[in-house]
Symmetry: C2
Subunit: 643 residues, 2 copies
């Protein structure tokens, strides 16, 4: 065990809830913060999880639970991946060994786990709107608790957070915003706002104008000035106080009282500030400066790398890199394809909403610094900006997580699809992911498929993904979405020349009998495994790589449908409601109109059921939702015996 | 003809494009602005359309086309409903008689109409992101044109616009933002931002701190001060200049150079300012103050009423009110139900994103001023704030247009559906609307239906809408969407007591034979008309009010499906891709698994095809998309003869 873990966790071990915290002295809180930090490092090194952000927010968490009374007071944690200290202080310390594991402790805020989780979180920038709603409700119900929203400087760049600040400044209801400013969202932060906050910090310790005026006054004391002149000087001081005697003038101008900046690792300063603000009735923002990865040297030095990590060895100097899986992920294959094709196509540019690391697009940015735009946590802006880029003649790729694309659905429709612009969407994390409910990328097929002009593709493996990106870049007749899961890519072999493929034609992977599996995207691999299992039971299904769910390969599908003995099974890693299988059903209904006298093949849908899916590894989640090769094989066996 | 229209439109009549404009003198531009204004009033009084906003922006439009060179320079009009003057100046004056009519001139910006429409618009707050994209593309392609975004103060409250400002302030590319500040979006504007801009205007003409300092200096001249004191005073002035000598400090702090405020009806001042800014390389914002409805007294006095108007008589004092259709709209029925139920349920509150007028919720706000929140053009914030309200124990109704709900799809999933909160969505303008592509409310069924925990209802008439709102308020077990079209409500009779209905049970409206029409929402009325037509041809269909598309009435549907001679036709005013019909197909596929030996009823889908639908009256749009009673009857006749 590392020396860092040698200290005895005396305070932490005795705590059962936040109420007990209030008996501690301030210096004891400092010791407790060290204990928590060690426990986080120790736990995450074993389970993996979000590290840097959780180390950065330990003192803020302690301060909040020391001063406020959860669950009566509502503490809203934006994004929710920085709540490990909060979880430890609210009765969940023992569960950390199960962090992010199926049926284990969630990696995010989750009210089903604890009454101290005031509202679940997972996506960024929601806390301020929730706080406004909960504060308005409190006022309406004449309750008297506090509503506190904890948001990072990254979350503050999200449009919804700015909408909420705008509204809060107007209605002036009692909300405390705790701004955890670590100068980055998941990636290095971008934006005029974050630069502004940086300047606040740089200039804060400079002599202020008021101080200069005080000096002038002192010197003028020696002179026998007319009373009117003193009044003039006094009016300057008043105006100066009102207009610029605050480093948070932007917030002040928008109607939010600003306090800060304060060292977010100085527990005494935090507690002092929170106590001061606790009794205020108007909206407040407390600006705290923290360091991501605080207290663990490797994470302090590279907070981006240590944002989210797999399990690692504490003794290694470069633990994360060393333990990274060797096989390429779909994200990496996509990003490498973008770079490779970017070298051929000088008009190609890429946009990412603060997910450059997660989607492996960092290298694209390094290769083409002038052709890469990380816009911060601003999905709406990312998509509409891409529309502008496309309209003006460039070839934009938007690299975005499936569930974050939900943030920009109107922009996809209004700014990309209506003008039919050739924006390419690399829809990452399309499918089941370990992060849980908030991050399950299961709605993208249904949501995108109903939008006119769209092509919605999903590759069966690395080679096809690479060729799809290439084909989309060359296509240029409308928007194309290419969807892939968060997982190691099947068949990562590179070195083949890039190939234009007719994506709208499906591909027969295996010629078998009348049981036909139409598999979409990553499900092709599952279908192949299913095929082996079925062959062992003397069933030889036909496996088709249905790589486009919009448009469908109507020629092939028509042929399959018009053989009444065919049993078609659709297979997708997305919600069955309105998804790929429904597309096949819709075409079959239409096709029946054209051949009213014919009997059709039967169609059965396999996909993600109509419920929110919990956290756990992709493999486990596929298993429990009937999407394992074994389950599918059994299902098909059952079908074939009944038919 | 009104006296206001008596003047001869001499300049306007001779103009064929913006290039010619540049030959005019400034005083001639003033005359031209009056001509344009008269022509707008005259035209809109005959065709209906957006009036107040178009009257307010005449001089800005002239100034932009006078100084910049469209189409080389790109002028992006946010929202696009204020572009009538722009259209008149760019060769579309003759088409105004066809404004907003089917195959006529679009009421919005539309690049298919003119090369001077740099990007289409319809929804708010997109122009800045588009401008950033187009400016980045210009820089990448080493072109040298200007990119100008024209946005209202209302549009600026939208989160995406704030995201774009944040990004623009960071990347410092050359974009000119022209802020048309009329102190309102569609409704009276809300938000800290707009209050801040109001204060800019109020304080702008006051003596500045610098001026006061100058006076102090002058008085101190009489004294023999130490040199160090003069330096101190000088340093105060320098710091003051740097830090507050601008009314647009918020923009400046975010990295956007601010100019203004300037009278937006003073054409000479506008041209002067635009010429000054034309050569700048850094991002600029020009703040222009305008009056909505300028030049037409009734619209000046009530810009909200004159935002969008039907045709009216110029001579009448209260023309709009007098010509309003007498029959209640679905919006009005919904709003009145909310008020009626609000009186019974003190926890009920309502939220609207700047659509209080359009959705008839103004009266709700007047009746319950403390229970009504117009959050401005902030759909994301509106939905997540509603989640906060619901979580804290209130009963929130979000009144929102179908296409604006697209702006908040992630919030619907992440903040409402995952925690399964009882937020009620009044989805207005669900269906085909005269505004065109950008406003067609056809995706809501498909988008909402795939979200777990949701109930997705649509009423057949006014009475059912009222009871659905009541039932949803009493339900409180999860989110409920109630969708209705932009049209007069069928059966507006009130006075019945409110009734709890089992919304998830469908209702058989007419018992007929084995042709069964499952009609969703407003399509029930069309189905009834279809029924009459079919009866005249000796076909007597069964008509079912399928008022819930999620959940389906599985008991009834199972019964219908298991009669193989049944022909089921689904009817919806929404995209057929993934919509209500697909829900029926999905259930049938599932049901077939349970009864593998049985033959099923056949299912045929009728709905909006997979293309973007142009503008025109709802009736015309239903007609051309095969959704008229006549077309549906013919379709069913064809079906029944073939079967």
């Amino acid at each position: 065990m590392s020396t860092i873990l040698a200290a005895n966790n005396s305070f932490l071990e005795t705590l059962t809830g936040p109420a007990q915290l209030k008996h501690l002295q301030l210096n004891e809180l400092t010791q407790l913060s060290e204990e928590i930090r060690k426990e986080i490092i120790n736990n995450v090194s074993r389970t993996g999880g979000h590290l840097a952000s959780n180390l950065g927010i330990v003192e803020i968490t302690l301060g909040l639970h020391y001063v406020f009374n959860s669950p009566k007071d509502k503490i809203l944690w934006d994004v929710g991946h920085q709540a490990y200290a909060h979880k430890m202080l609210t009765g969940r310390r023992e569960s950390f060994a199960t962090l992010r594991q199926y049926k284990g402790l969630s990696g995010f805020i989750n009210p089903t786990e604890s009454e101290h989780d005031a509202f679940h979180a997972g996506h960024s920038s929601t806390a301020l709107s929730l706080a406004v709603g909960m504060a308005l409700a409190r006022d309406h119900l004449a309750q008297d608790h506090k509503v506190v929203a904890v948001i990072g400087d990254g979350g503050l760049t999200g449009g919804m957070a700015l909408e909420a600040i705008n509204h809060l400044g107007h209605i002036q209801t009692n909300v405390l915003i705790v701004l955890n400013d670590n100068e980055m969202s998941i990636s290095q932060n971008v934006g005029g706002f974050s630069q502004y906050m940086k300047r606040i910090k740089e200039t804060f310790f400079y002599k202020d104008i008021k101080q200069t005026l005080d000096q002038i006054e002192n010197q003028l004391d020696a002179f026998n000035l007319r009373p009117g002149l003193w009044e003039l000087i006094s009016s300057v001081k008043t105006q100066a106080k009102a207009r610029f005697d605050t480093p948070g003038i932007v917030f002040e101008k928008l109607g939010i009282n600003y306090t800060g900046p304060i060292d977010g690792h100085d527990i005494a300063a935090i507690v002092h500030a929170l106590r001061q603000l606790q009794g205020r009735q108007k909206p407040q923002i407390l600006h705290l400066i923290t360091q991501k990865g605080k207290g663990y040297a490797p994470a302090e030095q590279d907070a981006i790398k240590y944002h989210g990590v797999p399990a690692f060895c504490l003794e290694k100097i470069e633990p994360v890199e060393a333990l990274k899986p060797k096989a390429k992920t779909y994200s990496e294959v996509f990003a490498e394809a973008a770079i490779e094709i970017g070298k051929l196509e000088p008009l190609l540019v890429a946009i990412t909403p603060a997910t450059a690391e997660g989607s492996a697009m960092v290298k694209f940015g390094q290769t083409f610094p002038d052709r890469f735009f990380d816009v911060g946590i601003c999905e709406q802006h990312a998509v509409t900006m891409a529309a502008g880029l496309a309209k003006a003649g460039l070839v934009p790729i938007v690299s975005i997580y499936s569930t974050f694309l939900q943030r920009a659905m109107d922009q996809v429709i209004h700014d990309v699809a209506i003008p039919n612009l050739p924006v390419i969407f690399g829809v990452d994390r399309g499918g089941l992911v370990e992060d849980g409910e908030t991050h399950q990328g299961v709605f993208d097929i249904a949501h995108l498929r109903c939008i006119p002009n769209f092509t919605v593709l999903a590759p069966k493996d690395a080679t096809e993904l690479r060729n799809m990106v290439y084909t989309a870049v060359r296509y240029q007749r409308g928007p194309v979405a290419i969807r892939f899961p968060r997982d190691k890519a099947v068949d990562g072999n590179h070195g083949h020349p890039l190939e234009l493929i007719d994506c709208t034609k499906w591909e027969t992977i295996h010629h078998g009998n009348h049981i036909i599996i139409l598999a979409y995207g990553a499900m092709v691999d599952i279908a192949k495994q299913t095929c082996s299992l079925l062959q062992a039971k003397n069933i030889n299904p036909t496996i088709i790589n249905a790589r486009s769910c919009k448009p469908l390969d109507v020629v092939l599908l028509r042929e399959l449908l018009n053989t009444a003995t065919n049993q078609i099974v659709t297979l997708e890693e997305g919600c069955m409601t309105g998804g790929f299988g429904s597309a096949v059903l819709e075409f079959a209904a239409q096709e029946r109109l054209n051949h009213l006298q014919h009997k059709q093949a039967t169609i059965t849908l396999i996909g993600v059921p109509d419920r929110f899916i919990e956290h756990g590894s992709r493999k486990i989640l596929l298993d429990i939702n009937g999407l394992s090769p074994n389950d599918i094989a059994n299902f098909i066996l059952h079908l074939s015996t009944q038919a």
